[in-house]
């Protein structure tokens, strides 16, 4: 068996043994691993196209345990992360083939309704097929018949994508619709209170929406509406018959009614001019407002009434805590004073004063209005995205319930200020509005007989057994599932997992995207450990821990991350040869080499870190993002990348490597501060899946600064932005590198932010250096020692 030993360092004379680990042996990610490229063992049958592409479905273990005992002994979590609409990101990834069955209907199993997939068994000369989920023999319709070759495979599998590729898209007939496919509907509910206007949030949002107004996914049926709220609800009449848009302010917020519903939710193509004029004039119209109130509850009810007949996507912007009308939210953060410490966690070094107790209760939602409204929205196919730009407490947890149960997203910009965050907000809003979306969707996951789905994780509404209601699903949303064996042992040889997403495209076609993965059943723990996918494990563990934390138990969530890592290590250790176990070293299986680093990084992430430097809102937003985003977000969050920039900044750096198709990036540095932050002469890039930061030391070489920024020093008080590409080839290379990083993370990365040493945002950079020891958490070295000692004690 291949395994990695991380030996303890040979101690200097006089120093007690086993205090640190051998520095050169500490596992760190390779550049490809940091890019979250699928590993070779993701597909046990080689890079077979038959399996669902890794971008759609990643199983934590690419094998199924033969018995529950084997799974428990291995200490692994058996599950999957499914991202049904993932876009192509790497060279070699293409579009999903579309298959139309016409009038005969999609070929499905008679009993369990599984879709036809490459892993079914053909019998009786090709006249029958055996479902790989429920093992029922189905008849093949005469127009679907095809002869078999000597191996029992269909000879025409090459022409039929559904028999040769793991992910296909079927065109759904009228049986799959309860109503005609809905048009894309975009509704924006803007906060027009003083805080929103004075910080520039309204202007930034209006400008961003204006810039993508022509690029919104959809066709000539697309509908658009804009509502505003402060102490009253503002309605905008965008009827195409009017020369100018009209505003109507309704101060009565106790009895919500819509003054002119057909003219507020308008066809975008017809009313394009009115919509454009509104977005241009809106910031100026409310520039003088002194209104400090926000009636979010009544405004939401108005938006709901507006959209309930058709459904669609609602973007809610909130800058002021809702303080008038229904569903007022009180400021919980200020109300409570300093809290006594709860208990010392496991990985805590230093004085034990975790912020767990104070923060745990702030992670529970308070007002029940938002959850009830979310359930009603889900029934009417309305999905809500929440954008928070407030300076003080915004109660992301309570209002975020709207997003959580309708399948939406949560975006948090603490103390938004247009000069600093405007570009990031615009980029995120643009990405959100223009990415691929599926409307009025439902998703069902089926597994082979003998295996059952224990739980689902993500943002959705569970509408039936194994059935998730997703009013709007987009390219970045991912769902985690945990699997368990129904009986204590599996008798079959293979286990298949099939996810089916029934959705309406933005062009109004009803489609079913089906991804199928089939893995062998293995009996031995060692085999299971060979086929682990550490990225999927990290992502699923993050989802499980986030769910625990959002249930009010933050410390439990953090300890879950460590516990799962330890279980996996112990599970592998139990099958290691005895002489390897006797040595003073931490033994890790080859695929799980990076598990300790990922676990430590996750525990130090803003979502879970015990230090009190993370406010409840930021924590809640980070936890929710871990829940609904996929592998591409979780892995860099757990293991941020650090790249030096004081290099020869010329091609081939920043240019595409013709052999791999990937862009050449600077080499990775360990996430530690000894060589980088300590040196005021250094400049490096830090990327953690959501933020891209460039840290510039105080004494960085002036030549570099004038090449890249256009001036020899950043201490002159002007905002630090990159010089235009034409200024110097180095600036061009840096811009190329940033662009490549953005593309690698699928558009989830905020635009580059330059952080000079000593500025307020330095804390963001320091947080990404996960190998460092913090006030309450161990360094990477100490963590490895702790894991080594604990696993040696548990499995001698």
């Amino acid at each position: 068996d291949r395994f990695v030993t991380v030996p303890a360092a040979t101690p200097a004379p006089g120093v007690p043994a086993g205090g640190t680990m051998e520095p050169s042996a500490m596992p760190r990610p390779s550049p490809d691993e940091a890019r979250v490229l699928p590993r070779p063992q993701c597909h046990p049958a080689g890079e077979s196209q038959e399996q669902a592409s890794a971008r759609f479905m990643r199983l934590t273990v690419n094998a199924a345990p033969a018995s529950t005992a084997a799974l428990t002994a291995s200490g692994l979590t058996f599950g999957a992360v499914i991202q049904p609409l993932a876009p192509p990101r790497l060279p070699g990834e293409g579009e999903v083939p579309v298959v139309s069955f016409g009038t005969s209907g999609v070929v499905r199993c008679r009993r369990c309704r599984t879709y036809i997939n490459p892993f079914v068994q053909w019998t009786d000369g090709g006249r029958r097929w055996k479902c790989n989920m429920c093992y029922l023999i189905n008849e093949v319709a005469s127009d679907y018949f095809g002869p078999l070759d000597s191996y029992g495979r269909r000879t025409d599998a090459g022409e039929r994508p559904e028999l040769s590729q793991g992910t296909v898209e079927f065109v759904a007939s009228a049986d799959y619709m309860v109503r005609p496919p809905q048009p894309p509907v975009y509704v924006f509910l803007l906060d027009l209170s003083y805080h929103a206007v004075s910080t520039g949030a309204v202007e930034a949002v209006a400008a961003a929406v204006l810039s993508v107004l022509d690029a919104l996914p959809g066709d000539e049926r697309t509908q658009f509406a804009l509502l505003g709220y402060d102490s009253a609800v503002h309605y905008f009449n965008l009827s195409s018959k009017l020369a100018q848009f009209q505003t109507m302010v309704v101060p009565d917020i106790d009895d919500i009614f819509l003054p002119m519903p057909e003219d507020m939710l308008v066809n975008l193509a017809d009313s394009k001019e009115q919509a454009r004029a509104l977005l241009e004039k809106l910031p100026r119209m409310c520039a003088e407002t002194q209104n400090l109130d926000a009636a979010l509850g009544p405004a939401l009810k108005a938006a709901f009434q507006l959209m309930q007949h058709v459904g669609g996507k609602l973007h809610v912007f909130s800058a002021t805590l809702p303080n008038v009308g229904e569903a007022r939210v009180r400021n919980r953060e200020d109300a409570r004073g300093p809290q006594p410490p709860k208990r010392a966690g496991v990985a805590h070094s230093g004085p034990a004063r975790p912020a767990g107790a104070a923060q745990s209760n702030l992670l529970l939602p308070e007002e029940g209005f938002y959850k009830k409204l979310a359930v009603e929205c889900s029934r009417q196919q309305i999905c809500v995205d929440c954008w928070f730009t407030g300076a003080v407490y915004a109660d992301v947890v309570t209002i975020g319930q709207l997003a959580k149960h309708t399948g939406g997203a949560v975006h948090y910009y603490p103390a938004f200020s247009a000069p600093r965050d405007g570009a990031a907000l615009a980029a995120e809003l643009t990405h959100n509005l223009t990415r691929e979306q599926g409307w009025e969707a439902v998703m069902r996951v089926r597994v082979s007989q003998g295996v059952k789905i224990s739980s689902f994780h993500g943002h959705f509404f569970v509408r039936g057994t194994d059935l998730l209601a997703l009013p709007n699903v987009d390219a970045d949303k991912a769902f985690g599932i945990t699997l368990a064996l129904e009986e204590n042992a599996l008798t079959s040889t293979h286990v298949a997992v099939q996810s089916a997403l029934l959705y309406t495209t933005s062009e109004g076609e009803r489609r079913i995207r089906v991804s199928t993965a089939c893995v062998p059943v293995v009996a031995s723990v060692a085999e299971l450990h060979k086929l682990v996918d550490v990225d999927a494990v990290t992502s699923l563990t993050a989802k499980l821990a986030a769910e625990k934390a959002l249930g009010g138990k933050l410390d439990d969530g953090r300890e879950l991350v460590q516990a799962k890592a330890l279980e996996a290590i112990n599970g592998f250790r139990s099958v290691c040869p005895a002489d390897a176990r006797r040595s003073s070293a931490l033994i890790l299986s080859e695929p799980l080499r990076l598990l300790p680093l990922h676990a430590l990084g996750l525990m130090k992430h803003a979502a879970f870190r015990p230090e009190a430097d993370v406010r409840a809102d930021e924590r809640a937003a980070a936890l929710m993002r871990l829940q609904y985003l996929g592998v591409l977000h979780a892995v860099p969050a757990a293991c941020p990348r650090v790249m030096p920039l004081l290099l020869d900044l010329r091609p081939p750096l920043g240019a595409q490597n013709p052999a791999t198709g990937l862009v050449n990036l600077p080499p990775l540095l360990p996430n530690a501060s000894d060589r980088t932050v300590a040196s005021p002469h250094g400049v490096f890039l830090v990327e953690n899946g959501s933020q891209l930061l460039m840290w510039v030391g105080q004494s960085a070489p002036p030549a570099f600064l004038s090449d890249v920024f256009g001036r020899p020093t950043l201490a002159d008080g002007q905002p630090a932005v990159l010089a235009p590409r034409s200024h110097h080839p180095a600036a061009d290379t840096v811009a190329n590198i940033c662009e490549a990083l953005q593309a690698e993370r699928g558009g989830l990365l905020a635009p580059l932010r330059v952080v000079p040493q000593g500025s307020a945002e330095e804390a963001l950079v320091l947080r990404c250096l996960t190998e460092e020891r913090t006030v309450q958490m161990m360094s990477y070295d100490e963590f490895l020692v702790h894991l080594m000692r604990t696993s040696q004690a548990k499995v001698p």
Partner: protein, 145 residues
């Protein structure tokens, strides 16, 4: 005429039947949920209607047992009442449409356990009722002789 205790036990019997009916409605709704005959929002509305009345009736029965000093049924019902109070305090007694599916197996287990308890209680009350009835008759017959 039958003794007062007969009427008392008859009342308890009726109450126990009512409680069992509540739970049967629960179980039917759970199985409907599993086989997709009802959606979770309607199901939780239906179920939540029966929870507080069930708790109230069970509390009333316990109080009546305390007043009439029937120790054995009092102890059993008091245990169940304690559990109900615990659920109420943690706000876990009402079901929520967003979390009903993950909690379905746990809720079914609780339901079946309570149904078993109420069935045994039903039989016990029936026995006490018949005993009260027969004892009264026997007492009357003895008096007449």
């Amino acid at each position: 005429m039958a003794a007062a205790s007969f009427w008392f036990w008859l009342l308890m019997l009726a109450a126990a039947t009512g409680l069992m009916l509540c739970l049967v409605v629960h179980l039917i709704t759970y199985s409907d949920l599993e086989s997709d005959y009802i959606n979770p929002v309607d199901a939780t509305e239906r179920l939540n209607r029966f929870v507080v009345p069930e708790y109230a009736v069970q509390a009333a029965m316990t109080v009546l047992f305390l007043v009439t000093l029937n120790l054995f049924p009092l102890l059993c019902n008091a245990a169940l009442l304690a559990w109900h109070v615990q659920q109420y305090r943690h706000q876990a007694h009402l079901l929520d449409a967003t979390s009903i599916y993950p909690r379905l197996q746990e809720c079914k287990r609780h339901c079946l356990a309570k149904l078993g308890f109420y069935s045994l209680a039903f039989l016990y009350y029936l026995y006490r009722m018949v005993y009260a009835l027969v004892a009264t008759r026997t007492a009357h017959r003895l008096k007449e002789r």
